[in-house]
């Protein structure tokens, strides 16, 4: 009976739950689903991480290549993020060129990386003006159950912390780079950005970490990205219902707490893998 009601009137069904301050899957409005993290499983990539937020699964692989820096910024390397939402993750994605959503999330990742300064691009430079690293961060969603942005950010951060770059020296005579595969150095991660996504329903209810169904029913979405020094590095609110300042402040506080938890999780995972 409940299932019939849910199919016939999903909004009303959802409203009934929210009135009682719970959600259909049993969570409270501020609770976030189980987060599982696994790093270093893809050995062909320089760094990799697999994150499961509830059912949403994202795998991030980082490949490093050498290239020449641009003439305008001779001291900076590149970090190139790319988010792929393939048709295998959900029936809503069709095969073909990247969907609008994939492109938006990719751009959001690029903004987060730049604004937060997670990796200083100067660290990626080997020889000024001649040689630098370019890190290709490819995030692929394997199972789409809402809130892919948070998951991507966590996977990106964990993968970056997992990256081991071989040491590169430039041969004096030939001028060509020599990679020393034996010696590997981790990246210098300056900041740790963590994202938290909120959904707005009926201009009234605010809940964190929406699932796929909730995303479809929500009237607005908000993503807050914070770093460890309690600074906001990015906020993303693509339209939807308006929020008052007090609600916004609630969101930010929740995001800060969540960010702490996630950072602890990442550090714990890294420590558990003896390097």
């Amino acid at each position: 009976m409940a299932a019939d009601f849910k199919t016939a009137q999903p909004v009303e069904y959802y409203r009934r739950f929210l009135k009682e301050d719970v959600r259909p899957d049993g969570r409270e409005l501020g609770e976030i689903r189980h987060t599982t993290l696994n790093i270093g499983s893809i050995t062909t990539a320089e760094g990799s991480a697999l994150v499961k937020l509830g059912n949403t699964t994202v795998i991030c692989g980082i490949k490093a290549e050498l290239c020449n820096p641009t003439a305008e910024e001779p001291k900076k390397g590149f970090v190139v993020p790319n988010v792929d939402l393939p048709p295998l993750c959900s029936p809503r994605f069709r095969p073909g060129p990247p969907s609008e959503q994939a492109q938006v999330v990719s751009q959001l990742m690029a903004d987060i990386i730049e604004n937060s300064g997670v990796v200083a691009l100067e660290d990626l430079c080997i020889v000024e003006g001649k040689l630098c690293w370019v890190l290709y961060c490819d995030m692929m969603c394997l199972d789409y159950d809402g809130n892919v942005v948070d998951t991507c950010v966590i996977s990106l951060l964990a993968a970056l912390k997992n990256v081991l770059l071989p040491e590169v020296t430039v041969n004096e005579e030939t001028g060509s780079p020599v990679t020393d595969v034996e010696k590997k150095l981790p990246l210098n991660i300056r900041k740790c950005p963590v994202a938290t996504t909120f959904g707005v329903f009926d201009d009234h209810y605010l809940f964190t970490d929406p699932t796929n169904e909730e995303e479809c029913l929500a009237t607005g979405v908000l993503t807050v990205v914070t770093t460890e020094d309690n600074k906001i590095c990015c906020m993303h609110k693509p339209g939807g219902t308006a929020l008052s300042e007090s609600r916004l402040q609630d969101c930010i506080n929740r995001a800060l707490t969540r960010a702490e938890e996630v950072r602890k999780l990442i550090d714990e995972t890294i420590n558990s893998v003896e390097r």
Binding site: I42, I62, K63, D84, P86, P87, L88, R94
Partner: protein, 246 residues
């Protein structure tokens, strides 16, 4: 490539296996919630994921509808970080299109499509890490995923590679052995009836050695079948136990 002994004097290969040993196979079914059927398989270091959607209504193009059977649509893609060098075109290049086509032909022959007229079955395969035997891992993963989705098939489809290096046939070629340039044969077959669904061979192999290699590959497929079958039965009995317990 000199200096790499594919087989050492004692008969061990680079990864410590003997010539007719398969790599370790780990499989998981029902890993994703969105898909109707999904499976993850690891053969040595090759990791492949498969998801199945369907049977559902034919989405694109009315022209594809078949009045008496289902249309099978396969897509093969390799993650950009799956190979040693970054792959700039994960799908759309010739090799991926060829693989997608072979997968489709393989599964069209095996799935009982006559039961689902006017509908479409989608099979998406993703390689997360490639270490030789990509096609085989795909086929095995897709078989498990189709079983997980509950779509009836005539039989399992198991695939395995066999190569011929230094006068001896080897089973289940890894990437290093592949790039040494030796000939290898990929066979996909239905293990119970021993019927070959797809056969592909690269590089040069003398006709006299063909039979040996083919036999070894057949044996390998049967071994893979044993592992997959046991896994499916375990998975089903677990699910059954969970359902009856609650």
């Amino acid at each position: 490539m000199a200096g790499l002994e594919i087989i050492s004097d004692q008969g061990y290969r680079i990864d410590g296996r003997r010539s007719s040993e398969l790599r370790k196979v780990c499989a998981r079914m029902g890993v994703f919630t969105q898909a109707d059927g999904s499976a993850y398989i690891e053969q040595g270091n090759t990791k492949a994921l498969a998801t199945v959607y369907g049977p559902h209504e034919v989405r694109k193009g009315r022209g594809k509808i078949q009045h008496d059977r289902a249309v099978v649509n396969c897509q093969f893609s390799m993650a950009t970080f799956s190979t040693g060098e970054r792959k700039s075109r994960p799908k759309g290049d010739r090799r991926s299109q060829e693989m997608s086509m072979h997968l489709r032909q393989t599964f069209e022959a095996v799935i009982v499509t006559e039961l689902f007229p006017r509908s479409q079955i989608d099979i998406y395969v993703q390689i997360l890490q490639a270490d030789g035997g990509n096609y085989c891992a795909c086929v095995n993963a897709a078989t498990l995923a189709v079983i997980d989705a509950g779509i009836p098939m005539k039989d399992y489809v198991c695939a395995c590679t066999a190569g011929f290096i230094q006068d001896s046939p080897l089973l289940d070629i890894s990437y290093v052995e592949e790039s040494a340039g030796a000939p290898f044969l990929t066979v996909a077959m239905m293990p119970k009836s021993e019927q070959i669904v797809l056969l592909e061979m690269n590089s040069r192999l003398h006709a006299d050695n063909m039979e040996k290699v083919l036999d070894l590959a057949t044996q390998g497929c049967k071994d893979v079948f044993a592992v997959l079958d046991r896994h499916v039965r375990d998975h089903v009995s677990e699910s059954h136990a969970l359902m009856t317990a609650s």
